[in-house]
C-alpha cells in the first residue's frame, strides 16, 4: 500500500490530485491523509485527519510513503524504515509561506531511501521503480548523540545551578 500524507496544517491538493490521477495505473492500493485540503479524491481511499495512533498504524502497513517535505513525516520514514518520496510544497502555488521545503529536499535528497519528485512525471518514474528504505547513517546518529548530550548538559546545569 502507498500511503500519502500532507500533514494536518496546510492543504496540499496538488499532491493529492496527482496521486488520485495516478492511482488507477499504479497497481497498488493508495491511501491518502488529505489534511486541510478541499479536493475530494475519487480513486483512492482518503481521510482528512486521523488520530495519531491510527495514522501510525497506517504508516506501518505502507510499502512506500509519498509526502510533503515535512520533517515529522521524514522522521517517521526513518523510524519505520519506509522508502519515502517527498514532494516539496511551493510558495508560488500558495502551498506554504515560503520555499523552505525546496531547500530541505535539496539537502535530504542526497540520502539513501529519500526520493524527491517535483511533478507527476517524476512521481510516476519513482513509484514504478524499486525504492530502498532509508537507514539512519552513522554520521547522522553521531550528530544526534552530540545534540542530545549538549541539551542534557544544559538541562543539568539549569536544574542544579538553581539549587545552589
Amino acid at each position: 500500500m502507498i500511503v500519502v500524507t500532507v500533514g494536518t496544517q496546510l492543504p496540499f491538493d496538488r499532491l493529492i490530485r496527482m496521486m488520485d490521477e495516478l492511482a488507477p495505473a499504479l497497481g497498488d492500493e493508495v491511501f491518502a491523509q488529505t489534511g486541510a485540503g478541499q479536493y475530494v479524491p475519487r480513486n483512492i481511499r482518503a481521510s482528512a485527519a486521523m488520530a495519531p495512533a491510527e495514522f501510525e498504524a497506517m504508516f506501518r502497513q505502507a510499502s512506500v510513503i509519498v509526502a510533503h517535505a515535512g520533517i515529522g513525516t521524514v522522521l517517521k520514514a526513518y523510524k519505520y524504515r519506509k522508502p519515502i518520496v517527498l514532494v516539496p510544497r511551493k510558495a508560488e502555488f500558495g502551498e506554504h509561506r515560503n520555499d523552505h521545503q525546496l531547500a530541505t529536499v535539496s539537502k535530504l535528497g542526497e540520502r539513501r531511501g529519500i526520493y524527491i519528485a517535483e511533478n507527476k512525471d517524476e512521481l510516476v518514474r519513482l513509484l514504478d521503480g524499486p525504492l530502498m528504505p532509508p537507514v539512519a547513517e552513522e554520521a547522522a546518529s553521531a550528530g544526534r548523540r552530540r545534540l542530545l548530550s549538549f541539551l542534557h548538559r544544559q538541562a543539568r546545569e539549569a536544574v542544579r545551578g538553581a539549587d545552589h
Binding site: 495519531p52 513525516t73 523552505h100
Partner: protein, 151 residues
Amino acid sequence: MTTKVDIVAVGSEGGHWEQLMLLSEALAGMNVLFVTTKRALLDQAKITNGRVVCDCNRDRPLDTAKCLWQCARLIFSVRPKMIVTTGAAPGLLCLAMGRLIGAKTVWVESFANAERLSLSGKIARHFASTRLTQWQHLARSGGPLYEGELL
C-alpha cells in the same frame, strides 16, 4: 501532590513536536512539563505531565493573543528553571515569558530550515540564552550554534 517542574519543553503539532520528542531523551529522569498544541499528541506519547495551548502564527493575531495569555499563565505559575523549544510560535512566546522569570531558554531551530532560519528562529535571538541550528552552515559566531542534528 505534584512534583516541582524544572523544565518546560514546548513543540507545536507536526515536525516541531516530533523533534521535541526525540530531544526529550536528553531530559530523561528530570521533571519536565510538555507543552504542545494538540491533546492527542500527549495521549499518543503517553505523557501525563502535559499541557495544551492554542496554536498560533503571525497571520492569526487573535489566536496569538490567546496563546500568549496561556503561555504567560503557564510559565509564571510553573516557574521552570529552563525552557526548551523546537518552535514554532507558541514555543517562542514561552521563551519570551521564560526570559522574564530568568529561566534558561533554549531554542532549537527545526531541521526543516536548511537554508535560512525561520522568522521565529530569528526573533528567538532576543529571548533565547542558547540558540541552536541543526545545519552547520547556518551557525554563526554570535549564534545560532551548531551542536549536531537529529537526522
